[in-house]
Amino acid sequence: MKSGREYRESLRKLEPEVYYLGEKVDSVVDHPAFVPHVNAAALTYDMALAPEFEELLTATSHLTGEKINRFTHIHHSHDDLIKKVKMLRAIGQQTGSCFQRCVGHDGLNAVYSITFEIDRKKGTEYHKRFIQLLRKVQSEDLMISGAMTDPKGDRRLSPSQQSDPDMYVHVVERRGDGIVVSGAKMHITGAVNSHGHLVMPTAAMRQEDADYAVCFYVPVGAPGVVHIFGRQTNDTRKWQCFLDQGNVDYGMVGGEALIVFDNVFVPWEHVFMCGEYEFAYELVERFATAHRQNYGGCKTGLADALIGAAYALAQIQGTDRASHIRDKIVEMVHLAETLYCCSIACSCQGYALPAGSYMADPLLANVTKLNVTRHVYEIARLAHDIAGGILATAPSENDWKDTKVGKYVDKYMKGVPGISAEARIRLIRLLESMTCGTALVESMHGAGSPQAQRIMIERRANLEHKKRLAEKLAKIGEQPLFVC
């Protein structure tokens, strides 16, 4: 297993084409825009080597029997599913921000199971190829991005109906040695500081969309792969100041990028679906289920730190014993732990797939994520309530340090005796970075927008069974003693 330092060194050997604020980036590891994201991902390596987190962050490879980082593991039991959630909470508590690596992990698990089933039905050899990649990922402890979301263009139209075919990643050429693909993937977490991208289709496909039913792996530095890094709220603070960043070490969100595939060649050994359109939906659902399962883990870990910030601020401001503040803190804890319950529940209700790997229960995983789209906003709203308007009006770090007005900032930012103005400003900035702007939107749309969860919930709701239960109680028609 790699350490965080070795992870950073491994990134320096790569040459991804990355653009940010109109400029080409020379070194992802050293650019201040990316340092927090690299730090957060690096922690997934260092925590795996720390004895206190070893139980959650490591696993035994079913391929080699070797000890591996859990982010490269294929779940083979309910215990694996539960440990993933606990691992995400544990890391989230340390970073207070997205640590990115779960996306690729979920992609590995989804593709592992679906390639097995494609091969079984079609006689292809995708699973064998994928296992070769998985061995490399596990032995080299690689960080893989999970690239699923296409730009989609006109949402009313299917991939093959788009006026611009690049609105969905697709095969433009099949060759003896591989395929050539074009298109783009959007909002891809950890894209610029990963070793490679696992690209998956984004929606159900029909026969006419077969060229869009494509799944493959590319190294980040592959020719034709271009990364355009997204802006974040207050992102220039990363190099303009220190204290005002809030979460200095780990920043906010996961560092999302637009990945463009401009006629990228992919050798057959890295192609895991090519035209098997009937498996596209199942792959999407398995990835989405795995990723939505996560959110009651990582977001609860972040909420733990956020609740701590609100509580500490209340203490500094002398409001912590007020009954309404205590009630709001309790409500924040209740909301956060409800999310955790959901993630643990969908893991406990998970099941084995034909490949022998395990996935979480899709209905409960979607409920988990739909709750995240509400609870995290409510937790943030309560934190804003507790913090007060100073959250939006606090003077800057530069004014606090200024020789002329700094004394005023320091004087009027103080609360109860014995606690510095600096401590209050730091907590305010942490709370600001965790709840104001980009970070909050991530809870809404990360792992799919709320409507995507609603669609899957409806598909899995089994309303006919509920109707039979009601009809029996209402004495409608002939009903057996038990409806099961």
Binding site: Q349, G350, Y351, A352, P354, D361, N462, H465, R468, P480, F482, V483, C484
Partner: protein, 114 residues
């Protein structure tokens, strides 16, 4: 020669995705009509074949203890029969076919009914 003995093991039906009772009732119907096997309680310890009936993919009843000592099992886990996907309306028929097939195979190599 005694009839083949088949038992059911239900998962507990906390929130079943499929109607397991319908499957069980259908298998009872087959047993009565074909006269080739009989349904016995699992607790009798007398069954050669057990049909494990789970309301969803979680397959809570598909545990080693329910397979030990059995010549064969048929596992229903939500909309699947022994891992093969089957739409809910077709489940009783599919399970019936699977059970008959299993019983025929067993009769071919041993005598589960004696």
């Amino acid at each position: 020669m005694r009839k083949c003995r088949v038992a059911f093991k239900f998962c507990g039906c906390c929130n079943p995705y499929v109607d397991l009772s319908r499957i069980a009732r259908y298998l009872h119907t087959i047993a009565e009509s074909c006269n080739d096997f009989e349904i016995v309680p699992l607790a009798s310890g007398d069954a050669g074949v057990v049909v494990i009936l789970c309301g969803c993919s979680r397959a809570c009843a598909d545990r080693a203890e329910n397979r030990i000592g059995k010549l064969a099992t048929v596992v229903v886990a939500g909309e699947s029969v022994d891992g093969e996907m089957v739409p809910e309306p077709e489940l009783p028929l599919a399970v019936g076919r699977k059970l008959v097939s299993v019983l025929c195979q067993l009769k071919g190599r041993c005598n589960p009914c004696s």
